[in-house]
């Protein structure tokens, strides 16, 4: 109203007109919109900033509350963390995952179970007369002392019929004691502390030493001209961080293909294209083989403050109404990956996973076989992409982590 009136006044100055007073040439609605936009912008800035700073804390709190509310019982923890592989009834998977029910290991009590949960197993193991190629992740990064004590007590009570309870404080001691021992070198190492175990198959010598040629060592730790040292961004153990992907334990051929794709421009990334341009075919193959043998504990965390339950659903079941099958249908039942074309997803950094999904969706990345990832990413909303990235970051890495550096990583093999 006022705006219109002043406009109609415009050609005829009123009596109090002073020469220094200018007429408002801008209609009032323009002010409204400008002020509305300014207020909105300020709010968004405030809101985003608050999200970034508080999200992590909130997540930790929420998780704590959730755990105490509905996951407090060892049984629920077991179902959530163990049953994908060992099955809800503890029978394991024929030819793939050892049974817990009747396992000789459980007779040794919950403390052994806690040690295995903290360290994981990486090597052949004989349980109940059957041999398994054991690859169990370390849950040290995924579970706290209380959770580990509950699972260990539950497992030994349910499947080992030993009703000893394990104190969370004892788990804290164990966590300290285990330190950076890395995963158990198969049943052979486990048998040295579990006397009830039958004779175990021999543990093959780790291959990290073979893969670590002089060329690889130079490239990884020193770099060469435009080829920056891999470790300078991806870490000494290929563990990565935030937007830099975790490489440790990825299929060798997958890593080599990515390096070759950077080099010939099939995959887009400014830094990696410069690096890969200086590498020969033999070197990309050697680097792939090297990082595939590395073992690193998880340093990823679900830090995108997305919906973890939704992410879990997408990973385990998919959303077929969007035409999206479960991630694990192709990437393996626990996100372990399937060599050579399907990378491991477990313990990958959430910002990296989310950014790659966004790149698939937007066409910035197009090097997946059959264009599978492009279609699937386009079907996911940005919330879904962040949700699944967060969930995957919360998983334990496979193969199990070994925190001692790769060169000296053979020291704990018996």
């Amino acid at each position: 109203m006022f705006g219109r009136k002043s406009k109609s006044d415009h050609p005829r100055p009123d009596e109090n007109f002073e020469p220094y007073e200018e007429f408002s040439g801008i209609p009032m609605p323009v002010y409204w919109i400008a002020i509305a936009l300014a207020a909105w912008g300020a709010f968004m800035l405030y809101d985003t900033g608050k999200d970034v700073t508080l999200a992590q804390d909130e997540r930790v709190e929420e998780r704590a509350v959730q755990i105490s509310a509905d996951q407090g019982e060892g049984g629920n923890l077991f179902v959530a963390n163990c049953s994908t592989c060992h099955q809800p009834d503890g029978e394991g998977l024929r030819g793939a995952v050892p049974p817990l029910a009747g396992s000789e290991v459980l007779a040794a009590g919950p403390e052994i179970v806690a040690r295995i949960l903290l360290r994981g197993i990486d090597g052949p193991i004989r349980v109940g007369g059957d041999d398994f190629d054991g690859h169990m992740p370390s849950f040290a990064s995924a579970l706290n002392d209380d959770e580990i004590s509950r699972i260990a007590s539950y497992v030994t009570l349910t499947f080992g019929e030993t009703d000893a309870k394990l104190d969370p404080k004892r788990v804290a001691d164990l966590r300290h004691e285990v330190g950076d021992a890395g995963s158990f070198a198969g049943g052979a190492e486990l048998a040295t502390i579990v006397t009830s175990m039958p004779p175990q198959p021999p543990h093959p010598a780790p291959t990290a030493a073979d893969a670590m040629t002089a060329t690889v060592q130079d490239l990884v730790f020193a770099g060469r001209d435009d080829v920056w040292a891999c470790a300078s961004c991806h870490g000494d153990l290929g563990q990565g961080g935030e937007n830099t992907p975790r490489l440790a334990g990825q299929p060798a051929k997958y890593l080599t293909k990515q390096l070759n794709d950077f080099r010939d421009g099939t995959r887009d990334n400014e830094s990696m294209q410069i690096v890969a341009a200086g590498l020969s075919d033999a070197e990309t193959a050697a680097l792939g083989a090297y990082f595939a043998t590395l073992r690193a504990t998880s340093n990823a965390s679900p830090n995108l403050s997305a919906d973890l339950a939704r992410g879990e659903r997408l990973a385990l079941q998919g959303d077929w109404s969007l035409g999206v099958p479960a991630c694990f249908t192709c990437h393996g039942s626990s996100g372990f990956g399937v060599a050579p074309d399907f990378p491991a997803l477990a313990a990958q950094h959430a910002p990296y996973t989310a950014s790659q999904l966004a790149a698939w969706a937007g066409g910035g990345r197009q090097n997946s076989p059959l264009g599978l990832m492009s279609q699937i990413s386009q079907a996911l909303s940005s919330q879904d992409r962040r949700a699944v990235a967060d969930y995957l970051a919360s998983l334990p890495p496979v193969p199990a982590g070994r925190t001692a550096s790769a060169q000296e990583g053979t020291s704990n093999a018996e």
Binding site: A39, C85, Q87, Q375
Partner: protein, 347 residues
Amino acid sequence: MPNDPKSRESDSSGGKHTARNIIFAAGGGLALVALGSLVVELGLAPAWLTGEPVQKTAMAQKPRDDLFHPPDTASIPDDEFGAAVQRGMAIFTNTGTNASDHVGNGLSCSNCHLDSGRQPLSAPMWAAWVAYPKYRGKNKQINTMEDRVMGCFTYSMNAQGSPSGGPPPHGDDIYRDLESYFYWLATGAPTNEKLDGSGFGKVEKPEQGYDLARGEAVFAEDCVVCHGPDGQGQKDLNGRYVFPPLWGADSYNWGAGMARIDTAAAFVKHNMPLSQPGKLTDQQAWDVAAFLDSHERPKDPRQKGSVEETRKAHHDGDETFYGKTVDGRLIGVGMQASAAAKAPEED
């Protein structure tokens, strides 16, 4: 923010208009903010404004609203019946472990009945449940659901190679649990009606028939990445099948429906590659189905005498390589179930 106009107020040497202008401008601006946030909160804002559009994959692009929707797994009741449904679902998705005594290969029900038996045109179990009992030409009798599932174990799961050497006997708990799961999936579905989306659909045989060389090319292009260059599927680190084997000792036997080219072509056309159904033409689907069903697999458990006798008795008129000779090799002699085909090792 109202700060800016207010500071302008102090600059202007006291025009009433300016003061009122500022108040009106600020008021109007705040009203716009309030209105805008209300629209967004109520979800009235168009999608292009609030977020990017989502493009469903081909697997979802068919109009789905006319199809039956099974209930969400979260709604499985928390009682004795619900426990049976859960057990049935576990058997369905992890058959080799949860019905291990009767599985003689590396497959699970859910390898062909996708999305745990929920996906239309991959023989969804909600559609099967309301179609039984029915007469089947395969065994020339009325089949109950239990009879039908027994057939699945006998042929698709190659029970002859399992530890027990046969399918679960009639009355076994495995049938109770599986049927509980199917019954629950069909919650609200009309009985004795052929529902849209049932079976694998039908893909007419193309004019050019089918050709193994063309099929091999399709296989190399669209199937190898998951099922492996030798069709033997792929396993994860622990040796667990992630992608099922399509032929060989660890796959379905010669008595399975999927060993018929027309059935396999319909499944492939409507479901493969996973998340990209419909990518292959009818011709390509038939060619690749013929290619994978021309490979040797465990023998037909009904075979008593020669392959030719079995062909006459059980495969006459079928679209199958059973009993034919390819490159001088008689197809259908079968292969022994073994600890079976190993997944390609990473090197």
